[in-house]
């Protein structure tokens, strides 16, 4: 299982379009888009009117960061992930804020531990249903660079473990995401 890797973009043209395909995929789900946008807006408000939405959005951001950084997190990857998340949130959070947040999360991992942060963020999710939603969403974000590496996949399995989603189900969710992305690209 550790050698598992998915690649959705096989040509330079597809690689250039994969971010847009992820964005389109995220936007297909109105309910998801609504909570992401509300959470993003609440997160940057001077006084958040919906603390629960802000917390859920920040949990998702941290999980996306932890999975995306499982195999290293180069500056180019930070910039493109921040740009993608800015688009997903309808610019409620700008990419500069997101890049700063990734640096804060670097510090959090250094101070508190990667495994500990993973378990802590996952504990904010309310059971397997939110776990599956997080795995799907985070796998979409992780695939935005065209592939999902073995460490990124293992991180998704770890997220599943913390949220009572079996490894087989994580695999099924990732495969479904890959297929939907491939369909958008072809």
């Amino acid at each position: 299982m550790t050698e598992t890797q998915w690649r959705v973009a096989t040509t330079p043209t597809e690689e250039a379009r994969v971010g847009q395909a992820v964005l389109s995929l995220v936007q297909e789900d109105a309910e998801r888009l609504a909570w992401l946008s509300a959470g993003a807006a609440a997160s940057v408000a001077e006084v958040p009117d919906d603390a629960a939405a802000a917390s859920r959005f920040q949990t998702m951001l941290e999980l996306a960061y932890l999975v995306a950084s499982a195999d290293g997190f180069a500056q180019a990857e930070r910039v493109s992930l921040a740009a993608l998340l800015e688009q997903i949130t309808g610019s409620a959070v700008d990419h500069a804020t997101l890049e700063l947040h990734f640096r804060d999360l670097d510090d959090a991992v250094a101070l508190l531990g990667r495994r500990e942060r993973f378990a802590r963020a996952a504990a904010d999710l309310d059971g397997p249903k939110q776990g599956e939603e997080a795995i799907t969403l985070v796998s979409m974000v992780a695939l935005a660079d065209g592939h999902l590496s073995p460490p990124e996949y293992e991180a998704l399995v770890e997220l599943g473990r913390y949220t009572d989603v079996s490894a087989a189900r994580v695999r099924a969710l990732v495969e479904a995401t890959v297929q939907r992305l491939e369909a958008k690209l072809r």
Binding site: Q58, L100, D107, A110, L112, E116, R120, A123, D124
Partner: protein
């Protein structure tokens, strides 16, 4: 090594409970966890592998207010005192903003206390720190049990630096919050001078 979460407008501080096996570190954490308001705390998390074990949770002590508009979130960590888990004890000290050494007051645990405080100094040194560099206090726990050592003996054995010290009976909650508040003051004083 406090870290700031600008998006959440929070300053995060890591506090580590250290001490010999069965001295009451977990009891301290559980008491604070149960007494904290649900809306102000995260879940208590226990992470375990064959050779590592960590227990932790985080909370926002509302009474602390804010520092320059940022709330302060404390992350309370502990690891088992047993020799077997030394790798966990080394790791948990990384980035700690404050330390609470929980000593077992029973006379039969005198040697275990001394070994543990030496182990603490040794493990801190591996992170390039010393007990004199970091907000650090001592809790003498189990003061409610029979056959305990006098405070003067514990102090002479375990507190050569003369750091603040607190008596406690963590099982019944006595001294638990006083200890945490004592360390919080030191951590926040340091924070105020560094922000």
């Amino acid at each position: 090594m406090t870290y700031v979460n600008h998006l959440a407008k929070e300053i995060n501080c890591k506090i580590v409970y250290y001490g010999p096996g069965l001295c009451g570190k977990t009891t301290n954490l559980q008491y604070i966890f149960e007494a904290s308001k649900p809306e102000a705390k995260g879940k208590m998390i226990s992470l375990a592998t064959d050779t590592e074990r960590t227990l932790f949770f985080d909370f926002l002590p509302i009474e602390l207010g804010s520092v320059r508009g940022y709330k302060v979130r404390f992350h309370l960590y502990t690891v088992p005192g047993q020799v077997f888990y030394d790798a966990s004890r080394k790791l948990v000290l990384r980035g700690a903003d404050g330390l609470i050494f929980v000593a077992d007051s029973q006379s039969s645990r005198s040697e275990a206390n001394s070994e543990s405080v030496e182990n603490l100094a040794l493990n801190l040194a591996q992170h390039g720190q010393s007990l004199a560099d970091i907000p650090y206090i001592i809790q003498y726990n189990k003061r409610d049990l029979p056959e305990i050592l006098p405070l003067e003996t514990l102090r002479a054995d375990l507190n050569p630096l003369g750091v603040p010290e607190y008596e406690a009976a963590a099982k019944s909650g006595v001294g638990v919050f006083e200890t945490l508040k004592g360390l919080s003051r030191l951590v926040l004083t340091r924070l105020a001078t560094s922000v």
